[in-house]
């Protein structure tokens, strides 16, 4: 059975729901922290061959700040929080931190601040998942990078899938109300096939339940 049989449309819909719950929690956390209104879009859940990841982006070389938080415990995977350079600087400003001139040459403090923002979003996501599924999972310390978009998603996917051919992406867009329009970021839940099936099983969607 191919991965596309194991994880059918119905299961992808269930994953979108999970994405909604996770992202919703993350949005609430950051909304409180920034004292701003946050909107999230309906998540998309997809199975993507690693070899086709580069096709997912309109601007694969867009310089992006990425915080990756890995999931440990009964489930393995990662949450990636992606934000463009201008948006990242704007958020740092909202947090009353000095606005960095150049994100590609940042100091420890700015790097930590970006990591903290990512940490809050990703940990809230994982926390919601844990509560909803009953699985004993926790978040690991965030890993930060400012680099080309495709590379960040590819590298994170490689770390999560450890060499298998497919990655499952549950993707949500986050919009943060800000003085000059919206700050737009992305929250992506990354998983390999094995862990997604484990997750689905806790929702009562095991392979026997079709």
């Amino acid at each position: 059975m191919s991965i596309y049989d194991e994880i059918n449309e119905q299961k992808l819909d269930a994953l979108k729901e999970l994405g909604n719950i996770g992202a919703g929690n993350a949005a609430t956390a950051i909304s409180t922290m920034l004292n701003k209104k946050i909107d999230i879009t309906v998540p998309s859940a997809e199975i993507i061959p690693l070899s086709e990841l580069w096709e997912e982006f309109t601007d694969p070389e867009e310089i992006t700040a990425g915080s990756m938080v890995e999931i440990g415990g009964e489930l393995h995977g990662a949450i990636l929080f992606l934000l463009g350079t201008e948006e990242t600087k704007n958020i740092l400003e909202l947090l009353m931190l000095p606005r960095p001139e150049d994100l590609t040459q940042i100091d420890e403090m700015t790097s930590s601040a970006i990591g903290e923002i990512g940490n809050i979003m990703c940990s809230s996501y994982i926390s919601a998942l844990s509560n909803f599924t009953g699985l004993n999972i926790h978040s690991l310390p965030p890993k930060i990078t400012v680099d080309m978009l495709t590379a960040i998603v590819s590298e994170s996917s490689l770390m999560v899938t450890e060499g298998s051919d497919f990655v499952i992406l549950i993707r949500t867009e986050i919009n943060i109300e800000e003085y000059e329009g919206n700050v737009k970021g992305f929250l992506i839940y990354l998983s390999d096939e094995q862990n997604i099936l484990k997750l689905l099983k806790t929702l009562g969607m095991g392979t026997n339940n079709d």
Binding site: P49, S51, K143, M148, A151, L158
Partner: protein
């Protein structure tokens, strides 16, 4: 004058082609792009290597994923297109450690570069240029016509810099 069409491959894939062709791959973090070119017959190949060596236990069709099977695949492919191994030269790029705060005791990037060097050495293919290691991701474009390897990498000033090696 016709512009060579860029042919893009993804993670774990490989491609071989004759002149004129520009072979491209994006998002090299810990992965390594191995570019081989028969400089006499102008036939070349590109492989986007993910891991140092194939695991014999798993029957894997994606031979481009591994340094050993991937490099072999492009050597064989170049020969199939009429190329000659004695004229082969290599250029490599990638093998970075992208994430800060990374407990990177594994350092796949460095292992990939090592494995690639080893395999090329075993095949008597000289690495004539490289851009490896560091903390930055890379995208590459390999021109079969003149052997130029364009490496794109984020530099200071929030810009993507292009280096030609």
């Amino acid at each position: 004058m016709t512009e060579s069409k860029k042919k893009i491959i993804g993670i774990g894939e490989y491609i071989v082609d004759k002149n004129p062709a520009i072979l491209v791959t994006l998002g090299l973090g810990s992965c390594v792009a191995v570019c081989l070119r028969d400089k006499r017959n102008l036939i070349g190949g590109l492989v986007h290597v993910m891991l140092p060596e194939s695991r014999s236990s798993k029957k894997d069709e994606k031979i481009g994923k591994y340094a050993d099977t991937g490099i072999k695949a492009i050597i064989d492919g170049i020969v199939d297109l009429g190329g000659n191994v004695k004229y082969l030269e290599a250029k490599i790029a990638g093998g970075a450690a992208m994430f800060k705060n990374s407990n990177n005791s594994l350092n796949v990037g460095a292992k990939n570069v090592e494995a690639v060097r080893q395999i090329l050495k075993e095949n008597d293919i000289k690495i004539i240029a490289e851009d490896t290691g560091g903390n930055r991701a890379r995208s590459v474009e390999f021109n079969i016509s003149n052997g130029e390897l364009k490496v794109k990498k984020v530099g200071g000033g929030e810009k993507v810099e292009i280096t030609v090696i």
